[in-house]
Symmetry: C2
């Protein structure tokens, strides 16, 4: 499983914006977030763009522009973020259709499909249990 870090970076960005706003600032720039996450501002803008489409953040343009939360961190779960940035299923089927003349080739896809759906449902349930406010709290509680 080629693990990707999109969910991690998205959570990082949201926690950063949330903390920055708690400190009294209106908006955060992709430049600031990119510095904290040690990556490129464009990568952050691409990710935040997906979060904006999902209604989690808003952006302003022009001078003094930047990003702000569209909802409270308390009402945002990891599942919201996951759905915003991870489109595909966790496990894939065969890349080419298996031999439909073979009993196993014929029945394997519906069987695995059913199993995978159950597992993804459990995964979503787990993700929904964690709010971004939980994450920010734990981040701030990290021992120095």
């Amino acid at each position: 499983m080629s693990a990707n870090s999109r969910l991690t970076i998205a959570a990082h960005a949201l926690a950063w914006i949330g903390l920055y706003q708690r400190q009294g600032h209106e908006v955060a720039t992709s430049e600031q977030i990119a510095t904290s996450a040690n990556t490129n501002p464009v990568v952050i803008r691409r990710l935040l763009g997906e979060l904006r489409r999902a209604g989690l953040v808003e952006s302003r343009r022009g001078v003094g522009a930047g990003w702000s939360l569209a909802r409270e961190l308390e009402s945002m779960t990891l599942l919201d973020v996951y759905e915003a940035v991870e489109p595909g299923p966790l496990f894939a089927m065969h890349r080419t259709t298996p031999d439909q003349g073979c009993v196993v080739g014929y029945g394997i896809q519906p069987t695995m499909q059913g199993i995978y759906e159950g597992i993804e449902e459990t995964l979503r349930h787990e993700l929904a249990r964690v709010t971004l406010a939980n994450i920010l709290r734990d981040v701030l509680a990290a021992p120095r």
Copy 2:
């Protein structure tokens, strides 16, 4: 999440070998399995090689060579297969270390690490509930 099909193909191969053995055959060849899965025999041999390292199958060489189950399908779970063919974690951290001078950059990795570990534990629990015998039964029960 770039979904991959390794788990699906591995389950397919095991179900195929299991059924073939139930029909009275000693060993199955990578060629036969590859035909059913509509892929290349080398791909199957590579995957089964990983399953052999995990103690799930055995292979014989020479004339009349091929693959056989090392354990009953009833005692094999999807978790066994998952661990054999999927080495890495489900979610990754940042590719480069975040800014340790930033509160969020400092605390985000241990925080996410903890969350991900809990989620993976749940995933493993779900995978362990499904045996390969369950899968073969469902495959054979697929309506024509």
